[in-house]
Amino acid sequence: MKRYFRELSVLAALLVVLLGLAVLAPGFYQPQPLLSLLTREAPTLVVACGMALVIISRQIDISVGSQFSVCSVCAGLLAARGWPLAAVLPAAVGLGALLGSLNGALVAGLGLPSIVVTLATMVTLRQGLNLVRQGEFVNLPDGVQWFGLSQAGGQWTLVGLALALLVVLGLGLRHLAAGRQVYAVGTNAEAARLAGVPPRQVTFAVFVLLGALTGLAAVMNIVQSPQVQPLSGAGLELKVIAAVVVGGVAISGGRGNLWGAFAGLLLLACVSPALTHLRIEAYWEKAFQGAIILLAVVADGVRTRRSQP
């Protein structure tokens, strides 16, 4: 259990918040708002899974927000042209994978620092999108919203899809050789190379996977409303990185898992409704999120300091 101490402590924090809400604001537990909350967070969860992989491999990608926006708009435009969702979905995933492979090629191929590379692609993609679309909304045809299902049906589908992906990726990361290679590269790339794990290929692969998941998340996002906002992904990167880091994935690579990232995401997602129900003004949300991130890294820092005098 010591191995999962970090994840369990996030889980404990989450339970405390949930319990506190149960006592102080039982209104939080009405099924419909709760389902809506989960639905809103479903695309974020999908991106967070990919981001966790990237961070475990000791990289970072701050361009996911821009990728998300680009994929959302493109998927929206395709849907507006009458493409069925069954065709839009793979197209968006493919586009995301392509964008991810650009980052991957620059980072793994040329050995450039991922923070600057993805900063550059973030600006380029966002401004490119703005240039082409001029901030225009995309109106979606009927039958796209909630996959043409009822609202509740659509919401359950999205939540189910996100959770299914979480479970598949989480188990894959733990039980497939490929998943363990991500850890190996993140904890010691040189030792990985000596053990026959190719660090560059793994790095490239996690960026592509993150891109593909971002594309999928974009589709999961556009089906939630009748219109596609052009900047729906703004700020997503920070939200996702925060969730992953709070969930115990070490920014220095090699540590953490998707279950922790999931708990971290829920914890951060609960801040806003918790504030509302506790009658604290919602404007405090971001400040609380920042404080939680700092608390998480400080806890990590203190713990590693104590274990390595």
Binding site: H175, L176, A177, G179, A195
Partner: protein
Amino acid sequence: MSASDAPTPAHGAPAPLLKLERITKSYGGVRALRGVDFELAAGEVHALLGENGAGKSTLIKVATGAHAPDSGRITLGGRTLPALTPVLAQELGIACIYQQPALFPDLSVAENLGLRLERGGRCRRIRWGERRELASRLLARVGAGIDPAAEVRELSMPEQQLVEIACAVGAGAQIVIMDEPTASLTRREQESLFAVVRDLQAHGVGIVYISHRLEEIFALADRVTVLRDGESVGTRPIREHGQTLSEADLIRLMVGREVARLYPPAESVPGEVVLALQDVGCRASGVRQVSLEVRAGEILGLAGLVGAGRTELARLLFGLTPADSGQIRLNGQAVTLRSPREAIARGIAYVPEDRRRHGVILELPIEQNLTLAVHRRLFPGGWLRDGAERSLAEGFIERLGIKCAGPSHPVGTLSGGNQQKVSLGRWLATQPKVLILDEPTQGVDVGAKSEIHRIIRQLAKEGLAVILISSDLPEVLGMSGRIGVMRGGTLVATLPGGTEAPVVMAAALGQGGGK
């Protein structure tokens, strides 16, 4: 299992597992190996002995394919290989256990073994149960009481070495190279390691065993090869015709007979005591109860093996790992040295061992490296003065004979010897009273070496108290007025200058040398 079960390594035995012939290797201008022959038979423990810089680690790197030799022949299992790569070496069954294991610190022991040993595609399912079982089996085989689920970062260094050995066993290595495996082991861990080695030996594995501890070599090895200055000075069976090789013979082989190489003669007469230590220790770095004195104009040599605590003592005096017991006096005054800054202010300078990481900053220009420790004095008010910096740099470049294209070139462009002179110059610029030199001539070519010796002499003549740490025994003997010998974190002997090399070596090895 005992050594007697093992097949006897007779000289007329079939083709040896590994044969290295006339291997040479140079780094830059430094010749690390000058035609070394080495042979390893199946089921043999072959000890490799030599001082630091004698060429042991280079020889290992050649044998594991990490570095290609300049010339010579490698024969592995009867096959002559044109080129050996790390991958090929692994496939051919060579495993090397380094002092600093290359493991995955964030992953469990079982996973570390699994990642190295399991083969198969990316989409293969990890069978954690089997992994753990394999790990337990291998760990049990090497006698390690390590939990396979433990993370490697929680393990001690010897435990990590045992994991490496388990890995070598699991990979079915035919040749296992152990680089000072017992340097950090406790007595009991050492015993169990010996059992592992004997067990491997009984299974026909050839073991190259590198150690400074003579008693281990006598307990474990079948043969011993001694390297000196990049040459093999002899291979001897430990037991022959019922007679055991004597320690004295071995020590004589190691240090050689021509100690009286050309060292500049001492010209200075020691003056007042500058630095005096009384029972100084530091728990964190393992230095205990060191008492010594250094006088102005004196060169005190510090001899000892790697890990004897010499660098740790230097770091203590320089305030990097401050002392937590005992008393330090400078010019008769009790002082505390809690940070490098404080040490520098008191007139202590330290030229560190790891030149490239600590001694200089490779990317910065020569002049900036030279002035890095004298900012306060050279730049009053905190503003740079190019003229002052340039003239100081040019002064040192001339005084120390630093060969460079100009003071504004990065230190990284210089040869090792000249980098070392820059590192030395930086500390001379602080106008120290005590100068600690840690392996000042390691990785330096012969010409620069004698220049550095001349400079050290000159400094002593000018009244500096010099502490010279060196694993090059002739250097310590040739340069020092007195010789302190360290072992296990403490000073075990202080010998007068002109002591015979075997006596110093015996003290360093703990063979009842003169107290």
